[in-house]
C-alpha cells in the first residue's frame, strides 16, 4: 500500500471514515500518523469525508475543517490535540459498520474488558493499571464494536490526569502492549472511582448491561437500531458488574476472578498478575 504522503497532506482511513489532513510541516504529519489508529491511504484515494487543514501564521496555529475555521491557538501541541479530538469525535459518529461506545477497553485472556463511562469517571486510570498488570491496551476512549459484537482496538494515546496536567501515554510507556485483533466481550465493568470505596458489585442482566453501554454510545440517537442490536449482541455471554470502586490496583484481582468464573458479590483484594488479551 502506498504511503499516501506527499508534501503537505496525509490521507487516512479510520474505521471506514476517510479524511485528508493538509499541513506543510512534515513533522506534524508524522506525529499525527503515529498518534492516530488509522490506515494510510494512497494520495489519490477517493471519497474523502472530511478535510483538515493546519496553518501557521506569525506563531498562531489555525485549524480548519472543511474550509471553516475551527480553532486558533498559540500552542502547537494544543492544536494537534484539537485535531485529534475533533477527528475521533467525527469518526465515532460517522463510522459505518461500527458502534462507538465511550469506554476504556483492555484485552484479558482473549476477551475484552469494557469499562463504559464519561470523562472523569476514572476509566483511564483503571485501564492504565490493567495494562501495567499485563492486559493488552485497546483504548481508553472508545469500545469500537461491530455487528457481531466484537471489539476492535482504537489505541489513541492514553490520557491520564494528575499533577500539572494530562499525560498522553502509549501502552509501551506503561510497560504493556497494544492489542491488535478483535475480541469478544468477556466482562463489562460499570463503575466509577470514589476514594476509600469498597468494591461490592452486583451483577447486571444482559438488558441492563446493554443500557449501560447505550448510555455512553456516540451514535445512540442517530443509529438506535444499529446500536441496540450491536450492543445486545456484544454483551451476550459476558459477565457484567456494577459498583463503585476504590483504587484501581484493587480491581486487577476482580478482573482476574471474573475470567476464572469465580465472581464474588463481595470481592476480596489479593495479589496476582493479569494475562494478556
Amino acid at each position: 500500500m502506498s504511503t499516501g504522503r506527499r508534501a503537505g497532506s496525509l490521507v487516512l482511513d479510520l474505521c471506514g471514515v476517510r479524511v485528508r489532513i493538509s499541513c506543510d510541516d512534515a513533522a506534524i504529519l508524522r506525529q499525527l500518523r503515529a498518534a492516530l489508529p488509522a490506515r494510510v491511504l494512497g494520495a489519490r484515494a477517493a471519497r474523502m469525508q472530511r478535510a483538515y487543514s493546519i496553518e501557521n501564521a506569525r506563531g498562531r496555529w489555525r485549524l480548519l475543517v472543511d474550509g471553516r475555521l475551527q480553532a486558533r491557538t498559540r500552542s502547537r501541541e494544543g492544536l494537534l490535540g484539537l485535531l485529534e479530538s475533533d477527528l475521533t469525535a467525527y469518526v465515532a459518529e460517522q463510522a459505518p459498520r461500527r458502534v462507538f461506545v465511550h469506554a476504556g477497553v483492555v484485552g484479558w485472556g482473549g476477551r475484552a474488558v469494557v469499562i463504559p463511562g464519561r470523562s472523569q469517571s476514572g476509566k483511564s486510570t483503571l485501564v492504565a493499571e490493567l495494562v501495567r498488570a499485563g492486559a493488552r491496551y485497546y483504548s481508553d476512549e472508545f469500545a469500537v464494536v461491530d455487528s457481531r459484537g466484537l471489539v476492535y482496538p482504537f489505541p489513541t494515546r492514553l490520557a491520564l490526569r494528575g499533577g500539572p496536567g494530562r499525560q498522553r501515554l502509549t501502552a509501551e510507556d506503561l510497560g504493556g502492549r497494544a492489542g491488535r485483533r478483535s475480541l469478544p466481550v468477556g466482562l463489562v465493568l460499570v463503575t466509577h472511582y470514589r476514594p476509600g470505596a469498597r468494591w461490592r458489585p452486583r451483577r447486571l442482566s444482559a438488558g441492563h448491561a446493554t443500557l449501560a453501554l447505550l448510555a455512553n454510545t456516540v451514535p445512540a440517537r442517530s443509529r438506535p437500531a444499529d446500536a441496540l442490536r450491536t450492543l445486545a449482541r456484544a454483551v451476550q455471554g459476558a459477565e457484567s458488574l456494577h459498583g463503585v470502586r476504590g483504587e484501581a490496583g484493587g480491581m486487577i484481582a476482580v478482573v482476574s476472578r471474573a475470567f476464572s468464573g469465580r465472581v464474588a458479590v463481595e470481592a476480596r483484594a489479593s495479589s496476582g498478575r493479569g494475562r494478556e488479551g
Binding site: R68, L69, Q70, A71, R72, T73, R74, S75, E77, G78, L79, G81, L82, E84, S85, D86, T88, A89, Y90, A92, E93, V101, H102, R118, S119, Q120, E141, A159, G165, S205, A206, G207, H208, T210, L211, A212, L214, A215, N216, T217, V218, P219, A220, R221, S222, P224, A225, L228, R229, A232
Partner: protein, 182 residues
C-alpha cells in the same frame, strides 16, 4: 375488574430487541431506552388492544408458566403507562395497585414487573471533553479549565476582578467536540 379496558402497546415510534429473559425497547420520539424484565415484557407483548386485563393475566401466566394475578398485570400496566410504552395509559378502576399488594399475588419464580430506562445521549454528550493547554476555556460544563492565552485573542473577555478568561462571541474557539460552531 377492568373487563372493558383493553390496553394496547405502542408499535409506532419504538424499536424492540428481544433478549432471552428481557425485552429492550427504544422510544424513537423521546430517545429513551427501556429494559423490561420477563414479567413486564410478557404483559407488554399481550397488550394487543383486543384482550382485556383478565385475559392478559391468563395469557401471561401461560407464557411465564406460573400463576399471575390481575394485580400484577395492573402494576405492569401502570409502569408501562408511566414509561409511555402504551398507546394510552390505562387506569385501574378503584385506584392503582401498590407494589406490595402485587407482590402477594404473584406465583413462585415470577418477578414483579420491572422497567429500567436510560436516556440515549446526544453524540457530543457521549464524548470526552478535551480542553487544551494554552487554548480557550471549554464551554462544556464538565471541563471548565482556564484559558491561559487570552492576550491578543480578540474573542476573550476578561472581566474585572475575574482571572478566568472565557471566550465569548465571534467564532467560538472551544476545543471540545460538539461545541457550537459559527
Amino acid at each position: 375488574m377492568g373487563a372493558s379496558i383493553r390496553p394496547r402497546a405502542r408499535q409506532d415510534g419504538v424499536l424492540l430487541r428481544e433478549l432471552p429473559d428481557e425485552t429492550l425497547v427504544y422510544d424513537l420520539e423521546r430517545h429513551r431506552a427501556f429494559c423490561l424484565n420477563a414479567t413486564a415484557a410478557a404483559v407488554f407483548r399481550r397488550c394487543d388492544g383486543r384482550a382485556a386485563v383478565p385475559e392478559i393475566a391468563r395469557r401471561v401466566a401461560r407464557d411465564l408458566g406460573a400463576s399471575v394475578d390481575e394485580e400484577v398485570v395492573w402494576l405492569a400496566l401502570k409502569r408501562l403507562g408511566r414509561a409511555r410504552l402504551l398507546r394510552e395509559p390505562v387506569r385501574r378502576p378503584g385506584g392503582s395497585v401498590s407494589r406490595r399488594a402485587a407482590a402477594f399475588r404473584i406465583g413462585g419464580g415470577v418477578l414483579l414487573p420491572l422497567i429500567s430506562s436510560v436516556l440515549a445521549p446526544k453524540a457530543a454528550e457521549a464524548l470526552t471533553c478535551a480542553p487544551v493547554p494554552g487554548g480557550a476555556v471549554c464551554t462544556q460544563s464538565q471541563c471548565g479549565q482556564l484559558c491561559d492565552d487570552c492576550s491578543g485573542n480578540e474573542h476573550c473577555k476578561r472581566t474585572p476582578g475575574n482571572p478566568v478568561c472565557k471566550c465569548q462571541g465571534g467564532p467560538i474557539i472551544c476545543p471540545c467536540p460538539g461545541s457550537p460552531l459559527p
